[in-house]
Symmetry: C2
Subunit: 435 residues, 2 copies
């Protein structure tokens, strides 16, 4: 088991764990009240203090991280995961800088979303207010610990963190540093709490703490997200899985299509907004595919193609025959499924069948095709003549993001600060009663 | 069991039910596509056609309703429930009129929620689009069948209805009439479907149809809502339970406080925005309570009071001693819990402990008290010198409502047409790639 943050409770019965996690949530709820009415100046000063505290504790954080890395190597976790887990002096500095950037963003709290005076004279305002308590269940990425704490703080919320056990030592130190820094700023230390000490039963208890936890954001692989969605009675926002399509239309400017395709597939692999399937209109397949497949192969991409793609591929490019599994898969690697479609209808059909509703792009010069694609593709983001990699809170100007929602409730697409708030109706009268 | 809408399947294994309900949802999803891009004119014309069809079918609807009423009486259901279940010619006309009013409301679909041009030239729009498929689980109120269908249609969604079995005959006819009227308007009949024929297993299957159903709205008693919240993997919006407080501050104009209190408690009983607890500042309790309690008693209200209230009650008013159960209870009847508090802090504390987060009101002339109450009460709606009965989509100018959300995710307070939509990011470039 992982290091404990408070009393070690690994042998406690599940009901005890539930009670203790509810106590954590109760403390978070009380702490959140102090923050709900805090001014932006207070919150921004706290964010700077958290950043300074992290930098000051770099040696201790890196040392704790070394323990996690040692165990990770011993457990044989993949080089990719080890890289995500690793903290260096530079990475701690970058994580701290992200908190300082958060301080520079506008405060979502207090925004008047709607307002009016009714015919009977009632004054109506719908105000943006903090959620209260945000739960976060994620995998072994210690930077998410700081990100989530910073986003929650800026949006006026307390946060309860459940990180992957592979990052337990790192997270334990980070949470302690953040919590202490909050206390030094005369804010409640309970605004940032971890439940890692309670292991898996603790995570389950968090999922059932409805009424105390206002929203739960799972961030990680498909299995993690599916478990949280199934188990949780706390409202969940599903993030992340991106089976992303690029469709090259008959009318596409192919000199625009190629860089978009390469950027979408290869600019960064292993992220949810990277392209996983290329659809090409059969009218341009002869011209586009040989060039595109060669360029992809040069970039190290393995092609999984349908029959037409197999036929059109240049000799030097080896293409694997695609199956339904390929259309369904979020590779998160240098692989790409490629299919030639008869027309826009077949492209839309393919996307309807296989997309995870994250991001799809069309490359076209035809206004009607672009309008149909925008109207009929049912995804969080639709790109016209732009790379799918732009579906990102930072890129879209929302500031930081806590994840990218692929569900339709509450938040869809990049979830920034506003998506961590709710609203409250304030109705002001002069003795108004309902007739 | 209730009457079946299609093939009778009451003996089918649960897995069959799940497959069949998923098929219903699949058909709803396909149908929703035709509506997603429909113009407001098309949708409004359809709403008028549905209204006309209901009126034309009044005799058949009332006859089916009579069967439900007969069975309800035989089963000994309460007069209140029988009243909610009953349909007359006048009620059918009123239900149809509500559809015509919906046609008069603005279309939420297509609204540009946010938009900008980024420094790199990308054009960004966040558009309001339909959810897709809305599920509705409710109790024996046939008017909800029509309301939900109308709201879904206007907001561009297909709806899957699971009504209470006590209204099965009524709902069967209503759904058929609505569906046929849609077909006559050249819209898919599958936009309005019922799964009543599959009984309870059907409802469970609906709760598990994640990916096909985009949101589930339970509407009814606390038990129904708790079951849906616990069982559902489809995102749920919790509606309804209102343990609503009125706080009369030390500085209150008592001639304003009394009508607000009486309106909040007695204007309509059995609704979620009716007051259930009165809190009175001890500085005005001597003056206010004897008058208020007498007026409440005159209106037929039974008082459940704390010790001070018991002491201050006029002799002719009998007061029951209140317990914690009274503070917790949503009476939905002519009962009111009454407590004298030391100050605003104690009032806020009481509300924090017992409120369901629906609506609370303060009656005050003190600006600081009103501002603290507004800031610190964590409810969907906060009233200042106004009756709690104004928490209502119609009263607040949102048009019709599908329910009142007491959770913080997606919708908080009255849920109107906008709350039945989601958003989509549309990003337009000229070959933009991410550097």
């Amino acid at each position: 088991m992982t290091a404990s943050l408070e009393a070690p409770l690994h042998d406690a019965a599940e009901t005890d764990v539930a009670a203790q996690v509810r106590e954590v949530a109760q403390r978070a709820k009380v702490a959140s009240r102090a923050l709900a009415t805090a001014t932006r100046a207070t919150k921004d000063a706290a964010l700077h203090a958290l950043a300074d505290a992290l930098v000051a504790a770099t040696a201790e954080i890196v040392a704790a991280n070394a323990l996690d890395l040692d165990r990770g190597r011993a457990d044989g976790i993949s080089p990719g995961l080890l890289d995500r887990l690793a903290l260096t002096h530079e990475r701690v500095a970058a994580i701290a800088d992200a908190l300082r950037e958060l301080a520079g963003l506008p405060d979502p709290v207090g925004e008047v979303v709607r307002g009016s005076t009714l015919p009977n004279g009632l004054r109506l305002r719908q105000l943006r207010v903090p959620m209260g308590v945000v739960g976060m269940i994620y995998e072994a990425r210690p930077n998410v610990t700081v990100d989530a704490a910073g986003l929650a703080l800026k949006s006026g919320n307390a946060v309860i963190l459940r990180g992957g056990s592979a990052a337990a030592h790192s997270n334990e130190v980070i949470v302690r540093v953040l919590s202490d820094a909050l206390v030094a700023q005369r804010l409640p230390g309970d605004l940032v709490q971890s439940i890692d000490a309670w292991g898996r039963p603790g995570a389950v208890a968090l999922m059932h703490a409805r009424g105390l936890v206002d929203v739960l954001v799972p961030r990680g692989g498909a299995d993690l997200i599916a478990t949280v969605v199934r188990e949780s009675t706390v409202p969940v926002i599903e993030t992340g899985v991106g089976n992303v399509h690029v469709y090259v239309d008959e009318s596409a400017d192919l000199s625009v299509a190629l860089p978009i395709l390469l950027n979408a597939k290869t600019q960064r692999v292993g992220v949810c907004n990277a392209a996983e399937t290329l659809l090409v209109h059969e009218g341009v397949a002869d011209e586009f595919l040989p060039v595109a497949l060669a360029a992809l192969a040069d970039a190290g991409v393995t092609i999984h193609g349908d029959e037409t793609t197999l036929r059109l591929a240049p000799e030097e490019v080896s293409v694997v025959a695609a199956t339904d599994e390929d259309w369904a898969k979020e590779y998160l690697s240098l692989d790409l499924a490629v299919r030639v479609v008869d027309d826009l209808d077949e492209a839309l059909d393919h996307i309807r069948t296989w997309s995870s509703g994250h991001t799809e792009a069309i490359v076209t010069r035809d206004l009607a095709a672009s309008e149909r694609f925008v109207a009929e593709v049912d995804s969080a983001a639709v790109m016209v003549n732009a790379s799918t990699r732009f579906t990102d809170g930072g890129q879209l100007g929302l500031g930081a993001e806590i994840g990218i929602s692929t569900q339709k409730l509450h938040a869809r697409g990049p979830m920034g600060l506003a998506e961590l708030t709710t609203t409250k109706w304030v109705v002001q009268g002069d003795g108004h009663v309902r007739p």
